[in-house]
């Protein structure tokens, strides 16, 4: 009993408060997104999304209580079992799941359906934590890098098969955690260069400019650094490879399925096809942009309410906030997210075991990726990939998955002293 007293006192209430605030704001926004003045229903009405979401929030609270009362050692011990279970579920989904819009994403019995790809996130996080907990695990060695990559790539491949590219992309967020755990920096430099050149190659019409730019930078690096033959050769090779990449990218893009091609091109020019592929982004920007500084007022939004923005209560829920609460509302929510993320970095850093630190960074990675990509896509900074805004978006699976993900970490954090004892 003394131990229980101890961990309750160690629970990080700041994170929980921010979580609660985001869930409640999200819930009000879901109501606003479906509100119809001519057919006004209570926010609690179970026939509309806000009432349904309330049920899911309540279920989420039950999950939280279960997580908090369970033995903290359970997560450590069950991690690999959970991982294997969800990987099997992912494999099984196409066979036992229900098809919606050409994708088979959910499994379940009757009306209770869950999306295994959402839950696989925390299972993968636990598995990574378990795997990297071993004292010998060193990310500077290729062997261990490959092991970590394997754990990540299994769910990625399985989810890609569903196919759900957006959710699969989320798993690459674990590289943020790997970065903290010592993954060599050069990978990130390379990856960022790669991404930057990809964006430039897609964004700039004439590839020649880009070729000149790359050549200039490579030459500059060669002449500024030491004039060693091997160094000059390696830079030259990289330069040639990059130029080759620029030219192959256009070809690669043309080989993508049409809807993915469109999503990429619309990012650079949403007016390309404002009524077609650009519709989502254009309408979402109009909704958010029309909010002004303080917004139109709660339930006063026209763009979201009158269905101009598609998927307004799920992936595009941020539009409702932007339209009705304006820039101030956006400021509050973005600040809440950033504060939560930074708070979680502090919590992760104060962990005494590598297991809970790795897990903590997994939580940060996933939440950060969702937060960044979701909002960026609603304002046209990122291609539209259908991933939800954590705690906000309508839907049971995502809310529960994020809640479980976060609260396992809060639970672990509250036991950080005992965990140290156990390790010793």
């Amino acid at each position: 009993m003394r131990q229980d007293d101890l961990y309750i006192n160690k629970i990080d209430w700041i994170s929980i408060l921010i979580y609660a605030a985001l869930v409640i704001i999200g819930w009000f926004n879901i109501y606003a997104a479906v509100f119809d003045e001519q057919n006004a229903k209570s926010i609690f009405d179970l026939s509309i999304n806000s009432g349904q979401q309330l049920l899911r929030i309540c279920a989420g609270v039950i999950f939280i209580l279960l997580i908090m009362v369970a033995d903290y050692r359970l997560y450590d011990n069950l991690s690999m079992i959970l991982y294997v279970f969800f990987m099997i579920l992912l494999i099984a989904t196409p066979f036992i799941g229900k098809e919606v819009n050409g994708q088979i994403l959910t499994v379940g019995i009757g009306s209770v359906r869950i999306q295994p790809s959402e839950f696989a996130k925390f299972a993968t996080a636990l598995a990574l934590a378990k795997f990297m907990e071993r004292p010998s695990f060193d990310l500077s060695q290729m062997k261990y890098q490959l092991q970590a990559l394997t754990i990540i790539m299994i769910p990625v491949i399985l989810i890609m098969l569903q196919p759900d590219t957006g959710t699969a992309m989320v798993y690459f967020a674990f590289f943020i955690m790997l970065y903290r755990e010592g993954m060599p920096q050069r990978y990130y430099v390379l990856a960022l260069t790669f991404i930057a050149i990809s964006l430039l190659a897609l964004g700039i019409e004439n590839n020649l400019y880009l070729v000149f730019g790359i050549s200039a930078i490579v030459l500059l690096l060669i002449f500024l650094g030491k004039k060693k033959i091997s160094r000059i050769i390696s830079f030259a090779v990289i330069g040639v490879l990059l130029i080759g990449y620029v030219y192959s990218l256009d070809y690669a893009v043309s080989k993508l399925p049409q809807h993915q091609q469109n999503r990429i091109m619309v990012l650079f020019n949403p007016d390309l096809d404002p009524l077609g592929v650009g519709w989502n982004v254009t309408q979402s920007k109009i909704a958010i942009g029309s909010g002004g500084f303080v917004g139109k007022g709660y339930l006063e939004g026209t763009q979201t309410k009158f269905d101009f923005v598609p998927e307004q209560h799920t992936d595009f829920i941020f539009c409702t906030l932007g339209e009705e609460f304006g820039w101030l509302g956006s400021l509050v929510v973005i600040t809440l997210f950033c504060t939560l993320l930074i708070r979680l970095v502090f919590l992760a850093e104060r962990q005494k075991t590598r297991f809970s630190r790795v897990y903590g960074y997994c939580v940060i990675s996933i939440l950060f990726f969702h937060f960044m990509v979701n909002i960026a896509m609603t304002i046209g900074l990122f291609p539209v990939i259908g991933i939800p805004l954590p705690f906000f978006s309508y839907g049971g699976s995502s809310l529960w998955a994020f809640t479980i993900l976060l609260f396992i970490f809060i639970k672990l954090d509250s036991h950080r002293i005992q965990m140290l004892g156990r390790m010793n």
Partner: protein, 599 residues
Amino acid sequence: MNEQRPITIIVVIILIGIVLLTKLFMIQVADDSFLKRAERNAVQRLVDHPYRGLVYDRTGKIMVYNNPIFDLMVIPKEFNVKDTTRFCEIFNIEKEELIEKYTAARKYSSVKPSILIPQVSTTEFAKIQDYLIDYPGLFVTTRAVRSYPQASAANTLGYIGEISGRQLERDTTNYYRQGDFVGLSGLEGFYEKELRGVKGVKYKMVNVRGIDKGSFKDGDYDTASVAGRNLTSTIDLELQQYGEKLMAGKVGSVVAIEPKTGEILAMISAPTYDPNLLAGSKFGSNFGVLNKDETKPLFNRPIMAMYPPGSIFKIVQSLIGLQMGVLTPNTTYACNRSLVACHNHPSPVNLFGAIRNSCNPYYHQAYRAMINREVSSNTFKDTEIGLDLWRDKVLQFGLGGSLGIDMSGESKGSIPSSSYYDRIYGSGRWKYSTIYSLSIGQGEMMVTPLQMANLAAIFANKGYYYTPHLIKAIDGDNTKINKDYRTRREVGVDAHHFDLIQDAMAEAIYGTAARAAMPDITLAGKTGTAQNPQGEDHSVFIAFAPKEDPKIAIAVYVENAGWGGRAAASTASLMIEKYIKREVARLDLEDYVLIGKFM
């Protein structure tokens, strides 16, 4: 090395937060184009078209009104009929037609309304009104179409039609939009600003499928339409219709004016047409037919047609001569037919006799005396000066220029000036012998029937007139009409000179237009013949009555009807009887006018 990395991660988180907030600031605060686009998205501007003003005649009878036309609309998504047979019975529609219309509507849009049954009549509408509630997805919209219950005075009232591109360009007030209806001719055109009213605007919110989601900001920005102003015409509808009946089958004009006010009591253009032909959706097909008609029913003869005034102009000559002092009641001239042809009558004649007998040589000689005043020893120069001085006096009578009736398209007529002859013959190369036919109202002189009727009013008034007009009150207020129509205009001839003229005109009736004489009303009139080089001459007659206290002045033109007395005088006489007594007793004369073929 790894100790720096948590800091890097925190910095990246904050950076991303700042990037998102900056971009949000750019689109939410710094750029207001999104707000406009949002309004364009969700706010629909609906124009509330006002009711066009009505037109009444001088006795309060309606001449033009807006006839509501009901269209039965259907929203396919909400429409649901269980018993089709019963539905078809109530709404008086064939089952096949219903299915066809419904399918077409469904194809167009399942959520937007389409017309199911167009132009339901008022009686039918009353019948189906109670059943509408049983059928969701059905409702009725109203349109207004101009309607003319008497089918009379078509050219006077004019017509409305869709605004043309040129008119839209000229509209500097930016009031009109493509597809608006405007008055194009007649009173509809001239009083367009009064009749059109003020458009209202309703802002409605719509969702992405265009479905009505209520008013925008509780209707704070909405404005109600203001109905157009009602006009009271000077026309006496009964007289107008009677005139149209008399003129049926003839070509010509009748203009009747109340002399004391300049109010036009009747204005008949024959042949005419049923104004309802040009109302609403029928405009397109009927306009072309009317426009191509050889009898030119759209040609508004009373104000557009021009004829030489003929003998009637001798009265103007007499008055100018009297005022100039060239003539006195006792001035006599011989009927010297070597100067100009005349008909048999005693000779010589004094002024009274000259008017009564319409003596051509008399005016040939009198006009020479008016023109050649010997102000210059050069007879060419003298004629030139004399003509221009004389012309100024003629213009005072409202001739040679537009009177300014409240209708567009009025012809000016023409009274030639010295420069006119200079252009034809060269300066200093013409003299009285060139222009003498003006003395008897022939030659290069043109007047409109309206100007002619105005002359009759001047003779009745003994020297003044009010500009003839068709509208006496706007919204029942007669001070709202143009001041020009309430301004008395003098013709510059003293009133006492008119006594002799009026007496002679009363006498003349028994000379040249005996048929027109009435037993109990003293009629003063003058026949004329407008020469027509193309065929038989036009019959002209002007008159006013009663002579003692004139209530009506009238001019009648019947084209190709020969000498004035037969057709025009009888028509004028009947019109005067109708106006003063409200009933026509001389049915034999009426028959004579109706049966007589003067075409």
